[in-house]
C-alpha cells in the first residue's frame, strides 16, 4: 500500500514537471505554434489510445468503433457550449457522460459477440452514429457543426490526458482491472472463477467510450468545428494503430504509440500521401515481426522506477 502511494506520488510529480516544462516552453514561445498543435493533438490521441486500450488491450474486446464515441463527445460538448452557453468544464462532463451512456447502451447487447464479429459490429455502430449526425440539421448535418469556441488549450488537454491515464491505470491495477485481464485471458475460465464477464466487459466498454467522448470534446473545441468526416472509421483505425504500435495491454505503450504517430505524421506533413502508407506498413510489419507491439503488455514504469539499476532484459 505504502509503495503504491509513493509510486502514485512520483507519477503525479512526473506529470506536473512535464506539464510545467512544456507550458513554460510554450509561454516563452520556444515551442512554436506548429509543435504546440502537435503536442495538444498528442494529448488528445493519448486519451483516445489509452481508452481504446482499456477495451481492446486489457479486456480483449476487439472494438474498432472508437471514432463513433469520439463523435458523440465532440458534438455533445459543442451543443453544450454553443447552443446552451454552458462552461467548458460542464461540456466536458456532459461529453463523457453521453459517450459513456451510449457505450453502455450499445455495449450490453453487442458484447455478446466476440472477436471479429464484435469488431465489425462496432465498426458498423460508429458508422450508424456518423450517418445519424449527418442527417441531423440541428447540429449542422453534412456541413458540420461550426462556430465552436476555441476552448481547448494546453492545460486542459494535458490535464485531462493526465487524469485519463491516471484513472485508467488505477482501474487496471485494481481488483476490477484484474478481473478485466482475467476476462481477456480466458473468458470461460474467468467465469468459472466467479467473475461476471458480461458485467466487466460492459464496464470496460462504458468507461472506454466515456473517455473517447472526452477526447472528442477536446478535439472539437480545439479545431473550432466538428465535422462528420472527421469521425469515419479511418479515425478509429488511426487510434487502433497507436494502441497496437505501443502494445495491446500496455498503458505506457499507448502513450508512446500515440506520441510516435502524432510526430511521424507531423514530420510527414509535407508528404501527406505517404502518411497512410507508412501507417499501413507499420501495422503489417508489426503484426508479422512483433505482434505484441513495442512494449508488449509491459509497462515502462517498471523500468522507470529502477532507472539507475541495470536494465533487465
Amino acid at each position: 500500500m505504502n509503495k503504491v502511494r509513493k509510486y502514485d506520488f512520483l507519477l503525479l510529480a512526473f506529470g506536473a514537471s512535464v506539464f510545467l516544462l512544456l507550458h513554460a516552453l510554450m509561454e516563452t514561445e520556444i515551442i512554436g505554434a506548429f509543435w504546440q498543435l502537435n503536442i495538444i493533438l498528442a494529448c488528445i490521441n493519448i486519451i483516445l489510445a489509452a481508452s481504446l486500450n482499456l477495451i481492446n488491450g486489457f479486456t480483449g474486446q476487439f472494438s474498432i468503433g472508437h471514432a463513433g464515441f469520439m463523435a458523440i463527445g465532440a458534438y455533445v460538448s459543442a451543443i453544450m457550449t454553443v447552443k446552451q452557453g454552458l462552461p467548458f468544464a460542464i461540456a466536458i462532463i456532459a461529453a463523457f457522460a453521453a459517450a459513456a451512456a451510449l457505450g453502455f447502451l450499445i455495449g450490453v447487447p453487442t458484447l455478446r459477440l466476440s472477436g471479429d464479429y464484435l469488431a465489425i459490429a462496432t465498426l458498423g455502430l460508429s458508422e450508424i452514429i456518423r450517418v445519424c449526425i449527418l442527417n441531423t440539421p440541428y447540429i449542422g448535418g453534412a456541413s458540420g457543426f461550426m462556430g465552436i469556441p476555441h476552448l481547448t488549450n494546453f492545460p486542459w488537454a494535458f490535464g485531462l490526458m493526465f487524469l485519463t491515464v491516471y484513472l485508467i491505470k488505477n482501474i487496471v491495477n485494481s481488483a476490477h482491472g484484474r478481473a478485466l485481464i482475467a476476462v481477456r485471458e480466458n473468458e470461460i475460465a474467468a467465469e468459472t472463477m466467479g467473475i461476471d464477464a458480461a458485467k466487466y466487459k460492459t464496464l470496460a466498454f462504458t468507461i472506454g467510450a466515456g473517455f473517447a467522448g472526452l477526447g472528442g470534446a477536446l478535439f472539437s473545441h480545439y479545431f473550432y468545428l466538428a465535422h462528420p468526416s472527421s469521425f469515419t472509421f479511418m479515425r478509429s483505425f488511426d487510434i487502433l494503430t497507436m494502441v497496437v504500435l505501443g502494445g495491446l495491454g500496455s498503458l505506457s505503450g499507448s502513450i508512446i504509440g500515440a506520441i510516435i504517430l502524432v510526430f511521424v505524421s507531423a514530420a510527414l506533413s509535407d508528404f501527406p500521401e505517404w502518411r497512410m502508407i507508412i501507417y499501413a506498413v507499420t501495422l503489417i510489419a508489426l503484426m508479422i515481426f512483433r505482434p505484441q507491439g513495442l512494449l508488449g503488455n509491459k509497462e515502462l514504469s517498471e523500468k522507470m522506477l529502477g532507472l539507475l539499476r541495470k536494465k533487465e532484459a
Partner: protein
Amino acid sequence: MDSSSFLSQFIQQMINGISLGSIYALIALGYTMVYGILKLINFAHGDIYMLGAYAGFFAASVLRLSFFPSLLFAMLAAALAGMAIERLAYRPLRRAPRITALITAIGVSFFLDYTLILFVSPQPRTFPAIFESEIYRFYGIIINSQQILIFAVSLLLMAFLTYVVQCTRIGKAMRAVSYDTDTARLMGINVDKVISWTFALGSALAAAAGVLVGIYYNSIDPLMGMMPGIKAFVAAVLGGIGIIPGAMAGGLILGIVEAMASGFLSSTFRDAVAFSILILILLFKPSGLLGKNTREKV
C-alpha cells in the same frame, strides 16, 4: 403517392436493388470463402475489388480491349494480387491469433488504397464506355443494359464458382480444408495451395464486380472499395458466413433493402440501414440466415 406509382417505384427499386445486390454478392463470395477456410475477415477484399476496377480501367483505356477481354484481364490481375497478398501478409500469420491477422488485413487494406493513390491520384476517373448503354422502358420502369449485364455476368460467375466448388478436385479440397484443416492436411491435401486458390478465386470475383461497377457508374476512385467491401461482409454475415449460397442470397437481400431504403427513405440512410441489418442479424441469428447454430467448444 397513389398505389400504381408506388408499385412502379417499388419495382424500379427492386431492379436497382438486384443489380446492386449482385455486386455485393460477388464481393461477398470472396469474403465467405476466405472466412470459411482461414476464419479471417479479409479486410483487404474491398480493395481487391477496387484494384480490379483499376485493372479493368487500364485494360480498357490503355490496352484498348473490349469488354470481355478487359473483364478477364481484371480478374486475372486481381487473382494474382490476391495470391500475392496471401503469400506475403497472411501466410506468415497462419498460426497467430485471429486478432493479429485482422489487424494485418486492415493494414493491407490501407496499404493498397494509399499506394494506389500515390500512383493514380485520389481523383475519380471516368471509366471508358466499353459497353454501350441502352435504356429499355416498360410501363414507366427503366432498365438499362448495364443492369442486365451486371445481373447476367454475376449469374454466370456464380454458376461457375458453384461448379468449381462442387465438381472439381480443387473445389473438393477447398471444402475439405474449410471443414477441418488439420484432417485435410493429414489426408494429403496441400493446404497452402488450396488457400492460395481460394484467394485467387475470391479476388477474381471481386475484380469482376469492380469492372461491372465501373461500367455501371462510369466512375472509379481509389477509395471506392471501402464501403462496398464492408457491406459485402455484412452480406456474407447475413447469409451465413462460410456458406456460398448464403453469400449470394445475403448480397441480393442487402442490395434490395438498400435500394428500398434509398428509394423510400433517403439515400443518406442507406449505409445506416446496412449496418443496422448487420447488428440485428448478429444479435438474433449470428450464424446467418442459412447457417446452422454451432455451440462454442470449451
